[in-house]
């Protein structure tokens, strides 16, 4: 089985290299990516369905390192989005980049990114994990700055590079501490050394939340997301937001398996972080005008939902509520897969819109559903899925988290009830706001009349771009339909997290599957009734007058597209309601005089965490570092002197 995995990774690397040197390289790389994904899916599916673990150990001459790989069900579950989405996004990207003028060399970084994520998830040695982590971060950096001619892309890449390395610093510290206590950098040794909850363990937990949370996009470490995603090409955003940020979640979950027990406070922290990320993510999303920036904030929101699920699971484990533990973790993890599917779908859709219609500002789009029908329907399904409405997959994972939360409310003691009610109320608010946000995106971009000439002249994207979107859209429905079956794969994953036996887990999962079946019955009822009503409507209207006229406009003589509601006006009540958090800037130029001619209003919502937390912080750091400026002269002989001095000091230390 590991042969398949290794050949998948080597195929990715080899075809990636071909992209650097060959003229037809991009085609080879994309074909390699697709083939590698098929090869990679074999051990992944085998592990998921049989709950088996496949291991491989090769000698590796790196101090403390070992090329030790293992695909257990947890790794397999996180490998699933890697191998499922990368070929679809690559197909799309091939067509997308051709329209943008090539960037053939970027496929080297694409394939290396996919390969590094695969190795990262399978790695069982901290050094190997960190090497893969670093390759992943660097490759994604090069993909973000793909369009490096724009200053905006370079700035976004810089912010991403800095924040990802700050996160990595915490992860390095985490693994050093773990390795020190286990006397090995092997993950299995971490588990065997049996870290019990203590102040030291809490420090480890804190390091992993900050370190992995930076990659995943926990508030307030999310600041790189809304910069990097709009700058990157759409298929790269899809892979980064759909798959790469989940590596942060994987890291956190993998770290959790190292501990023997979890204190209640950890669960409370995760629920608080999840609620904060979820609510602030969706609020900032509502205030945005740029589709891709909005989607980036929605990744923060969905990471929040995932964290709420993990926090609920942790709560159940720490206070011996097995049902809450099993279903909470299952809901959180299932949302990882779901978010990967619909978020990449939405990014691909946003890319198709940007390519064919031009402006990224929603207020200059509109009426695209008629011009891009296939992109439109795929985007509609993605929007409904991410808004968490039935019968699509986004709702299924939220239903599980809700179920775990309500079970905690019924069965738990007072602190449990407080934590779970907070989770349930937050999830409810997030759901309501997500509906607001995605009716806005779909309604303003795809419905109504076009608000600019570019939008008016838009036409459908190439088949290579629409087919991956339609595949992802159908996955949104298929995952929901198959959800009672998908729950079974968790019986191999959850014992390590909940400290319950596989039988105990699968007993609880069966109860949850019962609820999902009930939900599917209700969903089937909706679909049957809607079909019947469509038929009834057609029968009723056959032979009657069906007039098509302009939209009712109060008898106004000359309606124009600019009279429509825009995304800013649609969001205004919510933006005002949460104005104290969002701090939206309004630039209003009011019409004046008896014959007013011109008037305009612009709103801009900057990230408060960047403005109030990181900007001052980095300014202070820079200020402090400038004091060391006198060491830098730009004279080479002085630098050589520094090196010689350093070596002397090291020698002196060593000789002592």
């Amino acid at each position: 089985m590991m042969t398949f995995f290794l050949s998948s990774v080597s195929l990715l690397m080899a075809t990636g290299l071909a992209a650097l040197f060959s003229r037809k390289g991009s085609l080879i790389a994309v074909a390699g990516c697709i083939l590698a994904a098929i090869l990679g899916l074999i051990p992944v599916l085998a592990s998921l369905f049989t709950s088996a673990a496949f291991t491989l150990r090769i000698g590796w001459n790196v101090p403390f390192g070992a090329f030790s790989l293992e695909i257990d069900p947890l790794s397999a579950f996180f490998l699933l989005p890697v191998f499922l989405l990368s070929p679809l996004a690559a197909l799309y990207g091939q067509a997308y980049l051709q329209n943008q003028g090539g960037h053939a060399k970027s496929w080297f970084f694409w394939n290396s990114l996919v390969a590094s994520m695969a190795v990262l998830v399978a790695a069982r040695n901290a050094v190997l994990f960190l090497v893969a982590w670093e390759i992943m971060s660097l490759c994604s950096f090069f993909l973000v700055v793909c369009e490096h001619r724009h200053a905006e892309s370079r700035r976004a890449g810089w912010i991403y590079l800095v924040s990802t390395h700050l996160g990595t610093a915490f992860i390095v510290a985490l693994f050093l501490l773990l390795g020190n206590s286990a006397h090995s950098f092997d993950f299995n040794e971490f588990i065997r050394s049996g870290i019990v909850s203590s102040p030291a363990a809490t420090l480890l937990f804190f390091l992993s939340v900050v370190g992995f949370g930076t990659k995943a996009g926990f508030v307030p470490f999310h600041v790189w997301l809304p910069e990097a995603h709009p700058a990157a090409p759409s298929h790269v955003s899809a892979l980064m937001s759909g798959v790469m940020i989940k590596m942060g979640i994987y890291g956190l979950v993998r770290t959790l398996t190292f501990f023997n027990a979890y204190p209640f406070s950890w669960a409370a922290v995760l629920i608080a972080v999840g609620a904060l990320s979820g609510i602030l993510g969706v609020l900032f999303a509502i205030a945005q005008h740029d589709v891709k920036r909005l989607l980036a904030y929605h990744s923060v929101e969905n990471i929040g939902i995932i964290t709420l699920g993990l926090g609920t699971g942790l709560l159940g484990t720490s206070l011996q509520l097995p049902f809450v533990a099993v279903i909470g973790f299952a809901g959180g993890l299932l949302h990882v897969l779901n978010h990967a599917v619909f978020k990449s779908l939405l990014f691909l859709g946003a890319g198709a819109v940007a390519l064919r219609a031009g402006p990224r500002d929603m207020d200059r789009l509109g009426g695209l559903l008629k011009r891009m029908p296939r992109t439109g329907i795929a985007f509609f399904i993605g929007a409904a899925a991410i808004a968490g409405v039935p019968p699509l997959n986004g709702f299924v994972s939220e239903l599980l988290i809700f179920y775990a939360g309500f079970d905690g409310i019924v069965a738990g003691s007072v602190p449990v009830v407080a934590a779970t009610v907070a989770a349930v109320a937050a999830l409810g608010l997030i759901g309501g706001l997500a509906v607001a946000c995605f009716t806005k995106v779909f309604g303003i971009v795809f419905l109504g009349e076009p608000r600019s000439r570019e939008a008016e002249q838009a036409h459908e994207a190439d088949a290579l771009m629409t087919v991956p979107m339609l595949v992802l859209a159908s996955l949104c429905g298929i995952i929901a339909l198959a959800s009672p079956l998908i729950l079974r794969v968790f019986k191999g994953i959850l014992p390590g997290l909940t400290h319950l036996s596989a039988a105990e887990c699968s007993f609880r999962l069966d109860r949850a599957a019962h609820t999902l079946e009930g939900f599917l019955a209700a969903a089937a009822a909706v679909i049957v009734m809607a079909t019947a009503l469509v038929w009834a409507r057609r029968r009723l209207l056959s032979g009657r007058s069906q007039t098509v006229v302009v939209t009712w406009d109060c008898g106004y003589v000359k309606p124009s597209a600019s009279m429509q509601y825009t995304s800013s006006s649609f969001a205004q009540p919510l933006v005002d309601l949460f104005g104290s958090i969002l701090r939206t800037h309004k630039h209003l130029e009011a019409p004046a005089g008896h014959f007013p001619s011109i008037g305009s209003m612009r709103t801009h919502t900057a990230d408060i965490f960047r403005r109030l937390l990181f900007d001052p912080l980095f300014a202070a750091v820079q200020h402090a570092l400038i004091m060391g400026h006198f060491l830098q002269h730009g004279r080479i002989h002085l630098y050589v002197l520094y090196i010689a001095l350093t070596l002397l000091i090291l020698l002196a230390v060593k000789l002592q």
């Binding site: 509109g366 009426g367 559903l369 008629k370 968490g388 409405v389 039935p390 709702f395 809700f402 179920y403 309500f406 409310i409 019924v410 009830v417 009610v421 349930v424 109320a425 937050a426 409810g428 608010l429 759901g431 309501g432 509906v435 607001a436 009716t439 779909f442 309604g443 303003i444 419905l447 109504g448 009349e449 609820t515 079946e517 009930g518 939900f519 209700a522 009822a525 909706v526 009734m529 009503l533 469509v534 409507r537 009723l540 209207l541 009657r544 069906q546 007039t547 098509v548 006229v549 302009v550 939209t551 009712w552 406009d553 429509q564 509601y565 006006s569 969001a571 205004q572 009540p573 919510l574």
Partner: protein, 308 residues
């Protein structure tokens, strides 16, 4: 799914589908009584729906399939909701742990389609209504969920049928204060979700002030009929949640149960009529405060219950 005596379940379901539009008649009559008018006939909504079903349509050339699907999906959602909510003591036809979350989500799906259909016309009036609707519902959703949390905690049940099956006189004696607070929260959500005063005035014809009615300005004929019937069913479902708590007497025998339940629903409609007669619509800026208040009431109810 809990097996039920099919006949009785169908009977209660049929009562919901038949009687729901009557609630609007009762509300309008109550208002007329307060205003000293004669008011429209009790069955006016039935006449309206029947007439709309016989008409053709006029639709905007801006619209797409989303506009035509809006009323259809909306009606299917609330009709499915009727299958989830127990009426008059008997378990609902579809019942499973966590079904109330699905009920809330069905209302969200209905909203998703209604709002999308409104935006499909490109009319700024409908954009205005849509924008307000999503704002108010986003706040009503947590209020509804926390209210369910109180009921779940008190009855140790995770499905609507078990929850309302256990609400009894004894429960009222144990936790009357929290039940009253939950009822208040649910009533606020009921008024907001059904677009009644003080949240929305269904009778005004000034589009600038409306929420729900303005979203359906461009719908006509059978589409509008579906929307009207859908809003009647939605009122029936959300009303049933309240009446199921207020009248906790079950299983006296079937007919008195059903009779009591229907009387309860009609009294709820009278209460709505009274509220509409004695209150003005709130300023739009104050609506969110009332809804946040409803969340607060529900949380307070939970705290009282935990403290007891």
């Amino acid at each position: 799914m809990i097996p039920v005596t099919t006949q009785m379940a169908l009977l209660r379901l049929a009562a919901a589908f038949v009687l729901a539009p009557l609630l609007f008649g009762v509300i309008n009559r109550t208002q007329a009584l307060f205003a000293g008018r004669k008011g429209p006939p009790l069955l006016q909504m039935y006449f309206d729906i029947a007439k709309l079903m016989r008409k053709g349509t006029v639709i905007s050339r801006t619209t797409t399939w989303v506009f035509r699907l809006g009323p259809i999906v909306g009606l299917s959602c609330v009709a499915t909701g009727c299958l989830l909510v127990p009426f008059a003591g008997l378990p609902a036809p579809i019942s499973f742990p966590g079904d109330f979350v699905v009920l809330v989500a069905l209302l969200a799906l209905m909203r998703f389609f209604t709002v999308s259909a409104a935006l499909d016309t490109g009319s700024s009036f409908e954009g205005m209504g849509a924008s307000r609707e999503v704002q108010f519902s986003a706040l009503a959703e947590p209020a509804l969920l926390v209210s369910f949390a109180v009921l779940a905690r008190q009855t140790s049940a995770l499905s609507l049928s078990e929850m309302f099956g256990q609400v009894s006189v004894i429960f009222w004696q144990q936790a009357a204060p929290s039940f009253i607070l939950v009822l208040a929260a649910l009533f606020i959500v009921f008024l907001a979700e059904n677009a009644r005063i003080p949240f929305d005035d269904p009778n005004t014809h000034l589009e600038l002030t409306m929420v729900h009615e303005v979203m359906v300005l461009d719908h006509g004929g059978p589409d509008l009929g579906f929307i009207l019937y859908g809003s009647a069913l939605k009122m029936w479902i959300l009303g049933a949640l309240i009446v199921n708590i207020v009248i906790p007497i079950h299983e006296i025998s079937v007919w008195p149960d059903i009779f009591l339940f229907i009387v309860g629903m009609l009294l709820l409609a009278v209460a709505v009529g009274v509220v509409e007669s004695v209150m003005a619509r709130l300023r739009l800026l104050h609506v969110p405060q009332l809804l946040v208040g409803a969340v607060g009431l529900a949380i307070l109810a939970l705290m009282l219950m935990l403290g007891a």
